[in-house]
């Protein structure tokens, strides 16, 4: 792959190479995906490469808002998978994508250290002033969801910190600096044995839809469409649910 690309670059010049990959289902596919998709998409990407020899999937995982603004600034991405409809909407509104489809859903859980030393069973327990809680800032999807769930439960709590993304909130828990954090179920799955996720009924009111779309300016549109279709197969859904996501 690399040798071929180099030879191509030598003979035709770099611009010609970029378009040569467009014609068939091969070449690079650049997927911009929300940070919470890291584990699931990495695995799905490998499966997709196995099913489509010659395709190389490259992921850029970051906060959905950062990715949306990178796309608006002309980042050469083929596919965008967002953790919140709002960020996908802004990309669609700016004319970079059309017809996004929801492929997964995620819900909040209360992340606590394994063994649940403080005996937390629901949102109301978090209001204990002796407890240090990390929430996401309301500007990011997990923080907006946390606000909705807390309002639905009628729980008022003052966290020690509003983290900038869900992984940061979870890492504060992992480092033992907070006693609990409101994060996505998928994040506690990804954290493995050290973290336990306590489910709570109010999370029903704050479920995150994950939309995906091929981008209009995709350097590799054929493969982009194929990838979006693949995400919606039972095979991909199986991987997503194994990582804690729910079917749309």
């Amino acid at each position: 792959m690399r040798a071929a690309a180099l030879a191509c670059a030598a003979v035709l010049g770099l611009t010609a190479c970029g378009s040569a990959g467009d014609d068939d289902a091969s070449g690079h596919l650049t997927v911009f995906a929300a940070a919470s998709l890291t584990e699931a998409f990495t695995q799905i990407g490998e499966d997709f490469e196995d099913a489509n020899p010659g395709v190389e999937v490259v992921f850029s995982f970051a906060g959905s808002a950062s990715l949306a603004s990178q796309i608006a600034q002309g980042a050469p991405a083929d596919v965008f998978a967002s953790a919140a409809p709002a960020n996908m909407d802004s990309v669609v509104r700016s004319g970079y994508a059309a017809d996004p489809e929801t492929f997964a859903r995620n819900r909040l859980v209360i992340a606590v250290p394994e063994g649940d030393p403080d005996g937390i069973t629901g949102l109301a327990d978090l209001a204990d002033p002796g407890l240090k809680v990390a929430l996401c800032a309301e500007e990011v999807p997990c923080g907006a969801a946390a606000r909705t769930a807390l309002d639905a439960a009628g729980v008022r709590l003052t966290p020690v910190t509003y983290e900038t993304d869900v992984k940061a909130a979870l890492s504060k828990l992992g480092l033992g600096e907070v006693d609990a954090a409101l994060v996505y179920r998928t994040d506690t799955e990804a954290a493995g044995g050290a973290v336990h996720g306590v489910e709570f009924p109010e999370s029903d009111s704050a479920i995150n839809d994950y939309p995906i779309a091929a981008l209009d300016d995709a350097p590799n549109p054929a493969v982009a469409e194929a990838f979006v279709d693949y995400i919606r197969t039972d095979e991909a859904l199986e991987v997503l649910t194994a990582h804690g996501f729910q079917a749309p």
Binding site: T161, Y162, T164, L175
Partner: protein, 269 residues
């Protein structure tokens, strides 16, 4: 410095090999600022300035950056003096260790601080038990994080100034019977004052822009640990224009402070 430059040297032609890269470099440094200015929504600027969260963040940034500069001076000047004036084994190792925060990604610095000063950390657990002090998620934690990343700038500047200073003044004072402490306070410090001022300015500027170590060690809570760079980062999640306005406010405040200080400290003819 300027006083020593001879007049004829200033009037000679500027070599193109220096001028062209200097201008290109200047353009590279200032164009991003122009980008911010062009995209700024000037009409909403006064409105943003009146928002209490913005003022809280700005005030917190200025107070914590100044406090951390104070700490850097208190501990950094003695470190610089040791490195420049005392021969000891492992001096180059110590010098390298001092610059560790410069090469360490600030987020890693924040994690390292948590491992030491966090409530489960080596020092943090003791502080909590003995005095009931917890540093993470507090304003003191912000100052600590800033001091960690900014102190090397002060040490490097002051050590450079000390090495450049004429040691014969200190020797003369010593032969006249002054002790090391007297020499330090009466001769050395006044001699390297411009170097200290330059280091303090660098240090303050670095602390003001600090993001990674702060968010990791002190978290983000409006009014307590949310400094301007954190507010900018969060604004970026929802509203690019708000982020630009906040950046410009931070920039204007820091440039104003630095310009005023420059007038006072380095007012050499």
């Amino acid at each position: 410095m300027t006083a020593k430059t001879s007049a004829p040297a200033r009037r000679q032609r500027i070599p193109a090999a220096l001028l062209i890269p200097a201008l290109l470099g200047l353009a590279f440094l200032t164009l991003p600022l122009a980008g911010l200015l062009i995209r700024a929504p000037w009409s909403t600027m006064p409105q943003r300035l009146a928002e209490p969260e913005v003022l809280d963040a700005l005030r917190l940034s200025l107070v914590t950056a100044t406090a951390s500069t104070g700490l850097c001076l208190l501990f950094g000047i003695p470190i610089a003096w040791l490195l420049a004036r005392v021969e000891f084994r492992g001096r180059s190792l110590v010098r390298a260790l001092v610059t560790v925060p410069l090469v360490l990604p600030p987020v890693v610095g924040g994690v390292a601080l948590l491992l030491v000063f966090g409530r489960g950390g080596l020092v943090g657990a003791w502080l909590d038990e003995a005095f009931g002090i917890t540093l993470p998620f507090s304003t003191a934690g912000v100052v600590l994080a800033m001091t960690f990343v900014a102190m090397p700038f002060l040490v490097v500047s002051v050590e450079g100034a000390l090495r450049g200073a004429d040691i014969r003044y200190e020797e003369a004072a010593a032969t006249l019977g002054a002790g090391r402490w007297t020499v330090f306070t009466r001769v050395t410090l006044p001699l390297v004052a411009p170097g200290i001022a330059a280091g303090a300015v660098l240090c303050w500027a670095r602390a003001l822009g600090e993001f990674g170590a702060t968010i990791t060690f002190a978290g983000n809570f409006p009014g307590r640990t949310q400094t301007m760079p954190l507010a900018v980062y969060l604004a970026l999640e929802t509203d690019l224009e708000a982020a630009i306005v906040l950046s410009l406010i931070l920039l204007a405040a820091s440039v104003t402070v630095l310009a005023c200080l420059r007038e006072r400290w380095t007012a050499t003819p």
